[in-house]
């Protein structure tokens, strides 16, 4: 991606975010007023602030393009996205979802080894360490600190 394209895109994304924030501030907060300041006031002020910042960034992007005309076409953005971190992120989401439906143990003993396997971990000892820590965390949280981790109904323990 070219740098000026990145700058344009970024300012447009922020502008869009600001507009969405503004719409939410109006639609998701009831209007009521005490001493002239309603619960909407600050969220609206903030969303306007984001819109203003986005517009300034857009102007900056235009100025950059004008100034570096010709050269701007050759300046490339340093931002590169790879698919792999997003795959891992999806597995993190899967970990949370499985935890909801199948409990902490099953989630930790399926998704986490899968993540390690995808990360090309082939030493079985590290899988055993993971198992030990999963059990240890359960014991500390559930038994010692009395913070019950998500479970399914099976014997009430997993």
């Amino acid at each position: 991606m070219k740098l000026y394209v990145e700058k344009f895109m970024l300012s447009l994304i922020i502008l869009f975010t600001g507009i969405v924030m503004h719409i939410f501030a109006i639609t998701q907060i009831q209007e009521a007023s005490l001493a002239g300041v309603s619960p909407r006031a600050v969220p609206i002020m903030v969303s306007r602030g984001v819109i203003i910042m986005a517009l300034i960034m857009l102007i900056q992007a235009i100025v950059f393009y004008q100034k570096e005309r010709g050269e701007a076409d050759h300046v490339r953005s340093s931002v590169v996205f790879h698919r792999f971190p997003f795959t891992i992120f999806l597995l993190m989401v899967a970990y949370a979802v499985v935890m909801v439906f199948a409990g902490y143990f099953i989630a930790s003993l399926t998704i986490l080894p899968l993540i390690m396997f995808i990360l090309k971990e082939r030493n079985y000892k590290n899988y055993l360490i993971l198992l030990a820590i999963v059990v240890l965390v359960y014991l500390i949280m559930d038994v010692v600190l009395n913070i019950p981790l998500p479970k399914i109904g099976l014997f009430g323990i997993i």
Binding site: Q30, M53, I56, P85, F86, M116, L149
Partner: protein, 500 residues
């Protein structure tokens, strides 16, 4: 007073008190250093144990956990970019880059020494000038709190020196997210989309863990991908300086001025009820950066930054006890629980504590001195063990960090909503990092946004809508002026740095 101090000193000279001190410090170190486990949790869990003890041993146990817990948040912040406590979020700005440079031991030792010095200074203030500070602290009303919050938010400019606009956007988004939940004045739901989970607002711990740790996990995975692509060895590179470089006397002396200054900032802010360690650590960081001879090093691993944040953070430990012990007003939730412990032991809080139970009160304060010393000794050993974290297999580390992040976020409210919130913050944090948006302004705004908004609206209700209230109140005016000056200086400094 001298007699009371001496009797207090004699009072703590017991094996039981020292045992409790050690136990409290150990509990604080463990709870503070694990993200999701809070100092408050440690205090609440230790509270029932204190019932069977004499008040002094019980209070020392709780104070040990409080002081050590406040410090220990910095350990994981420095080593794995995950703040153990919300206040340690300021420490990771400089601490984690130092670890990346292989100077983890240096950063950890600096954090420890700064925390101990700040704790001792705070205790001296508690011992000698508590009543004077307490009278000043209770003068804080909504207008003053608003000005203080604005002062805190002005730090956003300072931490966004690389790109002011991006810093401001990050801060504004943080404020907006902090508005989610029940409106503190009118009691109506805001931005909750009808979800009960959203009505209780976004908790700070999942937000912090997501923004810093999940995004870091994604970065680590990206590094793996790059290494595989380039056919490089993907095994973990043990940082050679982790075991090597130690903090030198010269480095410590260079930072001493910052440590002392930050300790006093922490003590002052901590004495004001309802402010807390996050504000003091960020304010100290801002001041350290402003007055530093090398401001360009900040953000890239400046030891001075670690010293400032940790001194600011632990400077509050004695100070939060000032309004509690002298006036019966707890400075934060943790001191409220400690106040409960005092009451359960049949002790009065407020001025009567000093007049009717002077030997015990002074023994508790003297005990706080020793707590800091014990903390120093225990943490030295603890750090050595903790540093080994960086040496474990990096692929296993990813899985383990994910467990701790998820369990830590879950533990706050025993709610899976917080785990999902953490993941959302994680992906936002990852995009922010990719596009060079600073994360700290968002975190700072998440913390200070509610304080600023609530006190702003409360002040306007008091003044019937007149903004003059912020200028008419002297303390508020002073803070607003300091904020304005700090803003101008930060902008000039940022310009200078950009030009360089």
């Amino acid at each position: 007073m001298l007699t009371n101090i001496l009797s207090g000193f004699i009072g703590i000279l017991s094996l039981k008190v020292f045992a409790m001190m050690n136990l409290g410090v150990l509990a604080g170190l463990i709870f503070g250093s694990i993200p999701g486990l809070t100092v408050l949790m440690a205090i609440v869990l230790l509270l029932p144990i204190t019932f069977g003890m004499d008040p002094l041993a019980g209070m020392i146990l709780l104070l040990g956990a409080y002081c050590a817990g406040n410090y220990a948040g910095s350990i994981t912040a420095i080593l794995i970019n995950t703040p153990g406590t919300p206040a340690a979020a300021a420490t990771l700005i400089e601490g984690y880059p130092l670890t990346k440079k292989g100077k983890a031991v240096k950063a950890l030792n600096m954090a420890l020494i700064a925390s101990v010095i700040a704790g001792l200074i705070s205790t001296v203030v508690l011992l000698f000038v508590a009543p004077i500070i307490a009278t000043f602290a209770v003068k804080f009303g909504p207008a003053e709190f608003f000005a203080l919050a604005i002062f805190g938010l002005s730090i956003i400019i300072s931490v966004s020196s690389k790109n002011l606009l991006k810093g401001l956007v990050s801060g504004l988004i943080g404020i907006y997210i902090s508005m989610i939940g029940i409106d503190p004045i009118m009691g109506t739901a805001r931005l909750s989309f009808g979800s009960y989970n959203m009505m209780s607002g976004i908790n700070l711990v999942p937000a912090l863990v997501g923004v810093f740790s999940i995004s870091e996990l994604m970065n680590i995975c990206e590094d793996f991908w790059k290494k595989w692509k380039n056919h490089e060895d993907d095994s973990f590179e043990i940082s050679n300086a982790i075991e090597g470089e130690k903090l030198t006397r010269g480095e410590l002396l260079d930072c001493m001025k910052t440590i002392i200054k930050s300790s006093f900032i922490g003590t002052f802010i901590g004495a004001v009820p309802g402010t807390g360690a996050i504000l003091s650590s960020f304010a100290s960081y801002n001041e350290a950066k402003r007055s530093s001879k090398h401001p360009e090093e900040f953000g890239h691993g400046a030891l001075e930054g670690v010293a400032a944040t940790e001194a600011g953070n632990n400077g509050i430990t004695g100070a939060t006890l000032i309004p509690m012990m002298t006036l019966g007003i707890p400075g934060d939730v943790v001191t409220a629980v400690m106040m409960g412990a005092l009451i359960m032991h049949g002790l009065p809080v407020g001025p009567a504590l000093f007049s009717d139970h002077a030997p015990l009160t002074y023994a508790i304060i003297i005990g706080l001195f020793f707590v800091n010393i014990i903390m120093f000794l225990q943490a030295k050993v603890y750090i050595k063990l903790f540093v080994k974290i960086r040496n474990i297999n990096k692929k296993l580390f990813v899985a383990l960090l994910l467990i701790f992040c998820a369990v830590g976020a879950f533990a706050v409210n025993s709610s899976m909503f917080d785990v999902f919130a953490m993941l959302v913050f994680g992906i936002v944090g990852y995009f922010f990092l990719k596009f060079d948006f600073p994360l700290v302004p968002m975190v700072l705004a998440l913390v200070l946004g509610p304080l600023a908004e609530t006190s702003f609206r409360q002040a306007l209700i008091i003044s019937r809508g007149s903004l003059m209230i912020f200028i008419q109140k002297p303390i508020s005016l002073v803070f607003l002026l300091i904020s304005a000056i700090s803003l101008v200086i930060s902008v000039i400094q940022a310009r200078k740095l950009q030009n360089r």
